[in-house]
């Protein structure tokens, strides 16, 4: 019984904590494509929305999503000022290939590596693609698991909601 009360009290406190504010990015380091490091909290887009998309090179739906957005990215940027940050969870070995792969696909995204999955774990990722939308204050306002053709339209609607 005492254990139960204790559990309820702890859960109560924690829910209070988490519900009382908007979700922000954790303080975790990711790698840049030229071998440097950056804390993910430092990403910014001059008060415009940011899309964070988790992916890896052999994930077909991830590539579909990133390629579909690449086709309309310029339009999206002009209309909403949005920036896409692609987080590769390829392991330390295959992450060597991410930079050439991104170049060859001609993606204009900001790409970071998360080979030890520290950022991915902190965000509660279990399957990819997993996409988050951040408002101008870097607060997470929306998320989506998986990708099927046309999902980018829903993402754009969510981005437009923020910009309005």
């Amino acid at each position: 019984m005492k254990k139960l009360i204790l559990t309820i009290a702890v859960i109560g406190i924690f829910t209070t904590l988490s519900l009382s504010q908007n979700r922000t990015l954790p303080s975790v380091e990711v790698k840049t494509l030229d071998g440097g490091n950056i804390n993910i909290q430092e990403i910014e887009n001059n008060g415009n929305p940011i899309v964070i998309s988790f992916w890896f090179m052999q994930c077909k739906p991830c590539l579909k999503e990133l390629n579909a957005i690449a086709e309309v990215y310029e339009e999206w940027q002009d209309e909403t000022g949005v920036k896409l940050v692609a987080i590769s969870i390829d392991n330390a070995r295959s992450s060597n290939k991410v930079k050439p792969f991104v170049n060859a696909n001609d993606w204009d995204y900001e790409v970071y590596l998360d080979p030890n999955k520290d950022f991915s774990r902190a965000m509660g990722i279990s399957t990819v693609p997993h996409t988050f939308l951040l408002n101008g204050k870097n607060e997470i306002v929306w998320q989506h698991k998986g990708y099927v053709d046309g999902d980018e339209d829903e993402l754009l609607e969510q981005i437009e909601k923020i910009v309005k």
């Binding site: 005492k2 204790l6 009290a9 702890v10 109560g12 406190i13 924690f14 829910t15 209070t16 904590l17 988490s18 009382s20 504010q21 979700r23 922000t24 954790p26 303080s27 030229d34 071998g35 440097g36 490091n37 052999q58 994930c59 077909k60 086709e71 392991n91 330390a92 070995r93 295959s94 060597n96 290939k97 930079k99 050439p100 792969f101 170049n103 060859a104 696909n105 001609d106 080979p115 030890n116 999955k117 520290d118 774990r121 902190a122 965000m123 509660g124 990722i125 279990s126 399957t127 929306w142 998320q143 989506h144 698991k145 998986g146 099927v148 053709d149 046309g150 999902d151 339209d153 829903e154």
Partner: protein, 563 residues
């Protein structure tokens, strides 16, 4: 006890009161449930489970506030899915940690995942789909004293299923970004790193004085100049004989591994060449135990990890005991408006990989094995695996997208699956894949996938007549075809029907259909999917680490949620 409860409630209420002004931290996490029923199907060799339903579930909870984070993972295996090691059994909090960082120093106590360099000597990670979780339990420090210099050190034991292996690991790693450290703004960037790991395990051998402390070290170099990039790492491990009483069964050779890759890329084009060589480089968390749960280093295969099912029917697993591998990739995006590119451009990816054994085999018993040439040996060595493939993807118009793959794979079935040489010999298969999706209207897409695999037994087969030692004839699996139709309604629904058909099996009773139905619903952070069907027994791989999946027949339910 009552006092504690009271205190907690009071503090909870007081936090509630302040929550408008003070940052009280955040709680997030995720939940996954994988449930599967197992019915008997004698034709495909699927066994029924005594429990009828097996289930794996995980709940992660992370608390973060500023530079502090703590979390737990609750895991439930009641009982574990058939493709998991049965030692995953029961419930418990099997992962908990606390970490904080201040002025460039990060301290973690409890469980953590870590890898040094590319993982040649040490990698602790989780890959739930493979049933791997060798999380460390101990303490870890990371420190960045200067810009461009990063140090880390750790001590701990490695998880195996529900407990921890005997070995105690001590590790240290340093990395220097030369340009950042000396603030030189040259076009060429260099990053140099080195790591050292040592495993302590008590000696119990009555006859031999086997080493108690096994050390391994590695050095790495990364050079980047514009679109050019080089990565190289060399690793060495001292001898680590197992605890046996017979000298002839004891391998007291040292191990080494070498990996390097070079790439060049510019807008729309990339070329990558990679090689690796590994000799007696299996590093375990317990010298006397076998199985993937005890592996503590990571050497992934150098072949392309395919996702189309027939391309992945015969996958390659890394032979850390000894192999030489090489791989080449070319990516090319033909521009819009050109003859080949059409209105939307066309993507090409050519990939070639070849994995073979070392000449004179891997080092065993001692270091005297003559392995010349040392680094590159491809002629006359036993071929393990080879894959030549070309993938073309193209958007044809606003409605239609298409993806085509043609591949030829050579698969040394005897060696890679541990059969007696001559049982199956070497398979050579040619595979064709066409994957076309058509957008019917906004949000509605239908996708069709057609695949076929034509297979040949290359050698040894006729010679031995496919006769097993017990006299049973083992017919070849032969040719396969596969068809899939998927209907998706963005952003919530998907429905997939697929059939894999082994029409070329030499045993006509085994010319079977493996039909699978899957449907799912997806909304925001939640994903639900159900499936029903038969799965072929086979090898399932992620990055060269493989597990054997038994054939199964039944329902499955997956729920994935994050908050």
């Amino acid at each position: 006890m009552k006092k504690i409860v009271f205190l907690l409630i009071v503090s909870g209420v007081s936090i509630l009161g302040f929550s408008q002004e003070v940052n009280t931290g955040e709680i997030h996490g995720n939940f996954d449930l994988n449930l599967q029923s197992y019915q008997e199907d004698l034709q495909i060799g699927a066994e029924a489970a005594d429990e009828v339903i097996l289930n794996n579930a995980y709940l992660n909870i992370n608390y973060t506030k500023g530079n502090f984070a703590a979390g737990v993972r609750y895991e439930s295996y009641l009982n574990a899915l058939a493709d998991y090691d049965p030692e995953f059994k029961g419930n418990g909090i099997l992962y908990r940690y606390a970490t904080y960082s201040i002025d460039g120093l990060e301290i973690t106590a409890g469980n953590y995942y870590e890898q040094l360099g590319s993982g040649l000597i040490f990698r602790s990670y989780e890959e739930k789909s493979l049933g791997i979780d060798n999380a460390m339990d101990g303490v870890r420090l990371k420190y960045s004293p200067l810009k461009g210099m990063r140090l880390k050190t750790f001590i701990g034991k490695s998880r195996t299923h529900f407990t921890y292996a005997d070995g105690i690991f001590r590790g240290v790693d340093g990395e220097v970004n030369v340009n950042d450290l000396f603030s030189c703004k040259t076009k060429t960037k260099a990053i140099i790193g080195g790591s050292f790991v040592s495993r302590y395990q008590e000696r119990e051998n009555l006859i031999f004085k086997i080493p108690q402390n096994i050390s391994a070290y590695a050095g790495r170099l990364n050079i980047i100049r514009k679109g050019l990039s080089y990565n190289g790492e060399y690793a060495y491990k001292i001898n680590d004989p197992s605890n046996v009483l017979s000298a002839s069964k004891m391998n007291y050779a040292s191990g080494n591994a070498f990996t390097q890759s070079i790439s060049f890329s510019k807008k729309g084009f990339a070329v990558i060449a990679e090689m690796h060589r590994t000799d007696n480089m299996t590093f375990k968390s317990d010298r006397d135990k076998d199985g993937k749960a005890y592996l503590i280093n990571y050497i992934p295969t150098l072949s392309k990890p395919h996702t189309y099912s027939l391309l992945a029917l015969y996958p390659c697993a890394t032979q850390t005991d000894g192999e030489f591998g090489m791989q080449f990739d070319v990516f090319y995006k033909v521009k819009k408006g050109s003859l080949l590119g059409g209105k939307y451009g066309t993507n090409f990816n050519f990939n070639y990989s070849r994995i073979n054994g070392l000449n004179n085999g891997s080092s065993f018993l001692n270091d005297d094995t003559e392995q010349a040439p040392m680094l590159i040996s491809v002629k006359g060595e036993e071929l393990y695996f080879q894959d030549i493939n070309l993938e073309i993807s193209k958007k044809i118009n606003k409605q239609v997208r298409a993806n085509f793959v043609i591949a030829n794979q050579t698969y040394n079935k005897d060696f890679l699956e541990g059969h007696v040489p001559g049982d199956y010999g070497v398979l050579s298969s040619t595979i064709l894949v066409a994957d076309v999706s058509y957008k019917i209207k906004k949000g509605h897409t239908v996708r069709v996938e057609l695949q076929t695999l034509k297979s040949n037994q290359l050698e040894n087969y006729s010679e031995h007549g496919g006769i097993y030692e017990n006299g049973m004839e083992e017919p070849a699996e032969g040719d396969w075809s596969m068809a899939l139709i998927e209907y998706t309604i963005s952003p919530h629904w998907f429905l997939t029907v697929q059939d894999m058909y082994n029409w070329g099996n030499e045993n006509t009773a085994k010319q079977l259909h493996y039909i699978n139905l899957n449907a799912g619903f997806n909304k925001g952070a939640n994903r639900f999917s159900i499936g029903y069907g038969k799965k072929r027994e086979g090898i399932f791989c992620v990055g060269g680490i493989c597990k054997f999946v038994p054939s199964s027949n039944g329902f499955s339910l997956n729920i994935s949620s994050s908050f």
